[in-house]
Amino acid sequence: MSRTTMLSFYTFILLIFGLASVLDAKSSSGNSVLVILDPARRPDYSIFFNGLQEKGYDLTFRAPKDEAPALIEDDIPSFAHVIFFASDKHFAKDITPQTLVQLLSSNTNLLIALGQKQNLLTSLAPEFSLILPPPGSSLVSYFPERKEPNTVVPIEVPSSSKILSSTSSPVWFSGVPFALGNNPLVFPILTAPAEGFAADSEGSTADALADAADKGGEGLWAGSQLATVAGFQALGGARAAWVGGPELFSDEFAKKEISKGVKSGNQQAAADIAAWTFQENLVLRIDSTTHHLVNTSFPKEHYTTNDIVEFVAQISRYNPSKDKWEPFSGIDDLQLEFTMLDPHIRTALPAVRGSSGKYAVTFRVPDRHGVFKFVVDYKRKGWTHLHSSTTVPVVPPRHDGYPRFLSAAWPYYVGAISTSVGFFLFSALYLAGDARETNLKKTKGGKAQ
């Protein structure tokens, strides 16, 4: 008896722990984080790391030259997220651009901070369509006038940002800005100020920059087209955030005042960037898609040309504060395509009023038979990419599915029928004539006799 109570007590404890670990996970893709960072630098980012731990992330630290813990074990990534703050020149054998790309393609999120020195990130960045300035450059801005060095730049958070909280005050930034190539998967999260430019050191002028651009031939690293933080969303759904310098996350910048009495927005911005990267924010999924003839409720195995069909998609958004997927009706530019090689129909897929998370559209199947697909393909910067494809055959009507005799064809029907009737009359008269001729012959013959 006592043993069984003991056992149930253990299961109870296990259950509690299990529940606790589930409740703690604030990311939609897992809560284990590997931080690659020199142990000596760890206290510099204590506010950021403590914030993550309070949210429920399990942080594991690894020095850049340590062999363990491995990033990928038996081809399976060991962590759900990786923070890469190290700016060293040399790394352990398994930390290579290839492994980082492999992590990304196996749905591990990466938060990467560039350093001043040239290292593996310098060769990895172009793979993400980030165009780095010449080595040794950093963001310089002489505005606004301040007592800090010119390489420590306050940046306004754009009010339209979906990722950063727009209420936060300007963010201190120090590090490398980069230009963005025309890869559609990469987008800026925080752009450099319009007065900022990338330069070799504090003392250099804009002329030096123009010279560098001439030599490098990659354009001018200046103005607000430069990004200091950029997001990249892989096709598999994994996210990567590139930050010009790890100082943005540091305690020093978090505590540093923007103006007298006004705290900088760094702590909030750092948390927001991590929240987006670790798939807490702007995470969507398609729960289900169905299709059926209008006024029925079951999907058909195939549709007939010109059928009126209703397509319904159910979409959820991840809510990190409750750790739950909730129906989401906030997408106003969703589209449905009805595709056979090309989209024969591309129509808006609007949210249904009164039932949250439901998107529906009714349309007429084109007058064309073949193998069609219902395709929902929603790719917006920052948001999880939504993709759903359902194959249905579209067949022509059955032999009894449409009127066989049409008024337009009456001349043809009359023509065919009159030919038949004519044939019968002709045959009958022909035979009658035959009989008459033989009779005539007979009578003629009789007379002759």
């Binding site: 049409l406 337009a408 064809a409 029907y413 009159s418 004519g422």
Partner: protein
């Protein structure tokens, strides 16, 4: 005026003489077959004109109707050449009764296909 009528008479004379010769020298049986051929030709022309000017939809109905007149015309024309006494040398093996039986069988098969294809 008089020269005009003269020339008209000259122009018409070959056609007229052809018509007269036909009316005099052709047996009633062949004339009867010819009238059926004319009927089929007119029916086919009407359908073709309707198809070109009004609609060819449904196309299968047009094909069936037009093919029935053309097919019937061909079969009837063969019957005519086989039963013509002047062609007796050409068709030594084919008696007029045999020719008519071939014609009827061919026509029934043709109409079977036409009505299958019509709807």
């Amino acid at each position: 005026m008089s020269s005009q009528t003269q020339s008209q008479a000259q122009q018409q004379s070959p056609i007229l003489s052809l018509w007269k010769a036909y009316a005099q020298n052709t047996s009633d049986r062949l004339k009867f077959i010819d009238s059926f051929l004319v009927f089929l030709m007119i029916s086919g022309i009407i359908q073709f004109v309707y198809c070109v000017l009004v609609t060819n939809f449904p196309f299968n109905a047009f094909l069936a109707g037009f093919a029935s007149t053309v097919g019937q015309f061909v079969l009837t024309a063969s019957l005519r050449s086989q039963v013509n006494p002047e062609n007796r040398q050409e068709f030594k093996d084919v008696s007029p009764e045999r020719a008519f039986a071939d014609f009827v069988l061919g026509s029934i098969v043709l109409h079977f296909f036409v009505f299958n294809f019509l709807g």
